[in-house]
Amino acid sequence: MSGGGPMARIAHLHAAYVHAIDDDRLEDWPGFFTEAGRYRILTRENHRLGLPLAVMRCDGAGMLRDRVTALRTANIYAPHCYRHMTAAAQLVETGGSAHRVRSNFTVIRIMETGEMTVFACGEYRDRIVETDTGLRFAERLAICDSRRVDTLLVVPI
């Protein structure tokens, strides 16, 4: 973890992020972002066509927290969890305290009854910034390769 380049610390952020979700510690999820942090789940189809629609769009800590509150208290869905696989993280650009990073992800969704499905795969495009409390996402785009969502999407990816 040392003091080499930022990649080791970014790898740590990336890993902590997916462990929080996969552990169902979703209350921790907004904390990976800056106060004004932006989060988007996009599809490759819309992205390539230059269309701005997101499957999920949170601008800032309030919207991030509302997502968690809603899924805990309001939304209805069959119990399930995710397993995130990540790979091929690459520093695209770095400038002092801000880094642009891309990486690949696959999310397997596991229903309580045991069905496993490749729920999503795609690419994270991150803008990561140094803060007093460590690295945070100023922006995390999850660009899903498939335009399809199976059943529904409630847990962030």
Binding site: L51, T69, A70, A74, I76, Y77, V149, T151
Partner: protein
Amino acid sequence: MTILTEWRDGDVSRVPYRVYADPDIHAREQQRIFRGPVWHFLCLEAEIPDAGDYKTVDVGDTPVIVVRAAGGGVNALVNRCAHKGALICFAVRGNVRELTCVYHNWTYDLAGNLTGVAFRRGVGDDGGMEPGFDLAEHGLERLRVAVRRGLIFGTLSAETPELDAYLGRAMLAAMDRVLIKPLRVLGYHSQILPNNWKLYMENTKDSYHASLLHVFHNTFGVVRFTMGGGIRLSGNGWHHLSFTERAADGGESAGAESVRSLKQRYRLADPGLMEHRRELGDRITNAIQTVFPTLVIQQILNALAVRQLVPRGPDKSELLWTVLGFADDDEEITALRLRTNNLVGPAGYVSMEDGCIGGFIQRATAGDPGARSFMRMGGRGMPPESRSRVTEAAVRGFWKAWRELMEA
């Protein structure tokens, strides 16, 4: 067909669960409904603005090419070569000058007329098409097309009445109310539903469930649905409109749906989500319209969309959302629409449940195909107007349409 003999004449308030799973019923639906006398939404004019622009869509199990002709008109053609049946276009969208089948290069114009057959005269003295072969007899099957307010419809049947007659006055009015200006596509969603297509259509027509299944509003108390609102059905009961109206004073009044408001224990950290800019000239905040069999036109605050449902076998379907704005939207209203779209779509705060509830029924009913639902909220009829949305009238209308076509 078992279903048609065991089911009492005319009853549309109790439906045997086998309709959701039986492969023979599915096959008959393809023939009687999807290739039958109904209008299907195909795509938007705005998606194929220029000559040669095409989009491929599915009308039930039939693949269709919707293409802008050189003259500006729109053609819809079955996407199946007249030679050996290959898909002509296999991309979702594109632009072409003519339609060429990759298999043997049979070529069609944008109206589906066969214009060329490779090696039609053979090579040298050999081969070629049999004498008497007439290009004119081997075009692509063509759909009748109708366009209204930028929406392109098609039908595979010669029996289908004209679109205006098919929709009826109330439905035309509802459509015109929302689609007031040239449209702009903001993006697409595709959602795979683990259930028969009819379960989703019932769900959309089921104004009874809205405030009960989708507890988001009540939980957060962001909008307490007001008393305003109601249901409209087309004269034949096939299509419907359900809408909610903000009270004249803009305030919130206690009403039916506040029944669970005791549950409100939370506040949105960012209430900007629920912001609404009036743009359609009335106080209606939510309007959901269905056109039989599988079209939904949606206004939820400023989130506009059309949704087209495609059966993918008896126990699966695909819901294709085209999310809309108007062509003259400024950045601010676009940003508002995009934010509001958190409410709808596969991850929508007040729509995601519709993605799983059909599957809950599919799973629960598989074991007992002869058991039946009981849909008598608001009686057994389907009056053209109801002030209350606490009724299953529109669902009964759906089953009336279904029986009329399936038993024909």
